[in-house]
Symmetry: C2
């Protein structure tokens, strides 16, 4: 009965909320079902068709630029009224350059090699059976993100490239911008005769929709949260669907006693200050006591670049600008122009500190001592370990993978940068000639 | 205060239960911490040392045979008193042959190539950075299993081979047997100077221990449940740790119109009846209407082998022994001498039935038509798809992977048989010469 779905005005708030949730649940369920159907279709679409859709989407983003920018103005006006932070407003804002970069991103994804169909391994058994491990799409991917509207295009494009259907759930701040970009993606799908349901956008800002997605394990195969720690923790705790999560990037740079001093200065400054809001930014500097003579110039560089320095006793003794570091600082992803500095006794103490306080994301050693580098690479427990370079290279594009959907801190694969290839799985194909098992 | 941990006899049942749970929680936490320490050690132990421990464990299993069989007698006596089913008693029972097979299993695991350290991919970037993807252990694996005591050795051995520490939680029915086998594994670790905490067995049958393990996400990296559907569903619902799960094996064999009749008969009989209690056993036979003339002899073979047949109308019309199949039968993993039979119109209807009712485990087509086979292999959504062979080959050993811990029905890797290699992950190693990111 209609009354059940739409309670009259005199119904209690609780009843009205329940009705709204059940309506959202029905909507998300319907999206899941049509996504599953689209996924079956997409898995069989040739690479050429998927790429054609990506290129047509790029053209449609350019065609719809005016519409996208108007939609973004609506979002920006609402955000300014809600007094969102400057950083958030910057993430939300679109301009000609950003729209063009979004279109270009689609073309770059199209140009990448097809991840599907690759035979990853192949062998024969003594009984004559042949076995192949073949790369296939994951199925339906649910993506839950926050303010950046361009994630709509990046995530939708990567899923399309890898033959997956996707259900996108953008942040409420970027609702209109995401909807306009999503319109361009659907144009692209239609131009290539692919089902429009291959990339769907949840058409409500109600937070209940997220909960419904996390329960839809019959129709969504993988959930990818992209955003702040709060979102990711909520998703990890609530989801009944496997999650590709990107937790903290509490990254360290360790300057060993055998480091080249000039290289160490350049790397530390870049690792911390190139961009402070990215997950690969160094948050703690570990200085080998043998290299302590180099520390003043490193601290100088950082302070000159506007970095707040929080150090242990030895570091503070070297520079009056250094404030005392608290215990919590060793565990903090500042995502800001702040660095914690600690003096350690050689590579083993650095490794122990990192394995205790790090978030298994990206860790770097600067040294000319091959043994120390080997020891660090072997013993540090992280998705990415680096020797003589900047933790800011923790990025799918810098790895040469093209666009990425994030950096996975899962232990099970995919670990590290997640591009189109990492949004796939495999199946085993056995071919015989009538073999039965004894 | 002692009172808090050990309430006096007059305390309420609830208080006593709470104290017991907090004691178990403390115990599992302590196991997790020592497992983490052992994992760091193990990850660096050379293959030769891990293999030495496996061989010493095999010898210890043989040495302790009397002790293991005595412990098993205790378990069997308790199980008989609880009137467990014959199938369960058979799974629980150890004899000389099974103990020898367990020891041999350890030797086979030792003989396999080392899965660790392999460079899975390697490339260079235009800026001179080199990138490697290197195979490393997962860390600490929690394994929760039911009645088969030999899982203690298989699971412990596979984790050791792959450099992972493990916390084993066996079923209460096999408690004494598992403890005796675990004693032999610890002998093996000691003989190779590896920490005994590398393989730990939860020393209580209290079910609260499982809940505590599932919450220990700081110290356990992966949970592998091995047992019935109830256990796996509980683990999937409760776990805050990623799960490598093996859900249903509702497998199908589709006999196409272009199948070789003799091959089809042999494959169907083997796929269903070789062993009915394994996950790779065929549960539903799909017959192409064009091949219906072959169905009577196939039904005859099955009936003669003692198989109950539940069929659709067309099947029932061919053989009076066929009972009517219910809708639920198409979704049921019988794990017994029962088969559901349905007549379909060619490969596309077979694929549609499988993708709707199957459990994405193992699916087979019998045909001499290459196009039909290709279509089936491409479109069926399962971890393992087979052409002209028996679904009973769904087994890590038969794949040539050595022992397996189960067959994963996860979509994300590891998917399919999980051997030592699948109990690993990778990390990225970047080597530079001072590169900073522009």
């Amino acid at each position: 009965m209609a009354l059940k779905l739409m309670p009259p005005p005199e119904a209690s708030d609780a009843a009205r909320d329940a009705a709204a949730v059940s309506e959202i649940a029905a909507q998300i369920l319907a999206m899941g079902k049509s996504a599953r159907a689209a996924a079956s279709f997409l898995a069989l679409a040739p690479a050429e068709t998927r790429n054609r859709a990506l290129l047509a989407a790029a053209a449609a983003i350019r065609n719809r630029r005016g519409e996208i920018l108007d939609a973004n103005k609506q979002d920006m006006a609402a955000a300014q009224q809600k007094s969102l932070s400057a950083a958030l407003l910057d993430r939300l804002k679109l301009d000609d350059k950003r729209v063009e970069a979004t279109a270009k991103g689609m073309e770059e994804i199209a140009a990448f090699p097809d991840p599907l169909g690759t035979v990853l391994a192949e062998w024969a058994r003594p009984n004559g059976l042949t076995i192949q491990r073949v790369r296939v799409p994951l199925g339906v991917i649910g993506i839950i993100y926050e303010s950046r509207p361009n994630v709509t295009a990046d995530a939708g494009g990567l899923c399309l490239k890898s033959g997956n259907a996707t259900i996108l759930r953008g942040g409420s701040e970027s609702f209109h911008s995401s909807r306009a970009i999503h319109g361009a993606l659907t144009d692209g799908l239609r131009a290539a005769n692919l089902p429009a349901e291959a990339i769907q956008l949840v058409p409500t800002t109600d937070r209940a929709a997220v909960g419904e997605m996390l329960r839809l394990n019959d129709y969504i195969d993988i959930i990818v949260p992209r955003g702040g720690k709060g979102l990711i923790e909520r998703v990890q705790n609530e989801s009944r669907i496997p999650v590709i999560a990107h937790l903290d990037g509490n990254c360290h740079t360790y300057v060993d006693g055998a480091a080249d001093p000039a290289m160490a200065r350049q790397i530390v400054l870049n690792a911390k200050m190139r961009r402070t809001g990215v997950c690969g930014a160094t948050e703690t500097l570990l200085m080998d006591r043998r290299a302590i003579a180099q520390l003043p110039s490193i601290l100088n560089d950082l302070a000159a670049a506007g970095c707040e320095i929080r150090g242990d006793g030895e570091t503070r003794a070297l520079d009056p600008r250094v404030r005392p570091a608290s215990e919590a600082d060793w565990d903090t992803e500042f995502l800001d122009a702040i660095i914690a500095v600690k003096v350690v006794n050689g590579v083993d103490e650095a490794i122990a500190h990192i394995n205790r306080h790090g978030s298994h994301h990206t860790e770097a050693i600067v040294t000319d001592d091959g043994d120390a580098a080997r020891r660090f690479i072997e013993r540090v427990d992280a998705a990415i370990v680096m020797h003589n370079t900047s933790t800011q290279f923790a990025d799918g594009g810098e790895f040469g993978m093209g666009a990425e959907i994030g950096i996975s801190t899962n232990r099970l694969p995919p670990r590290g940068p997640v591009g189109a290839e990492q949004l796939t799985t495999y199946k085993y194909v056995l071919r015989g000639s009538g073999q039965t098992r004894p």
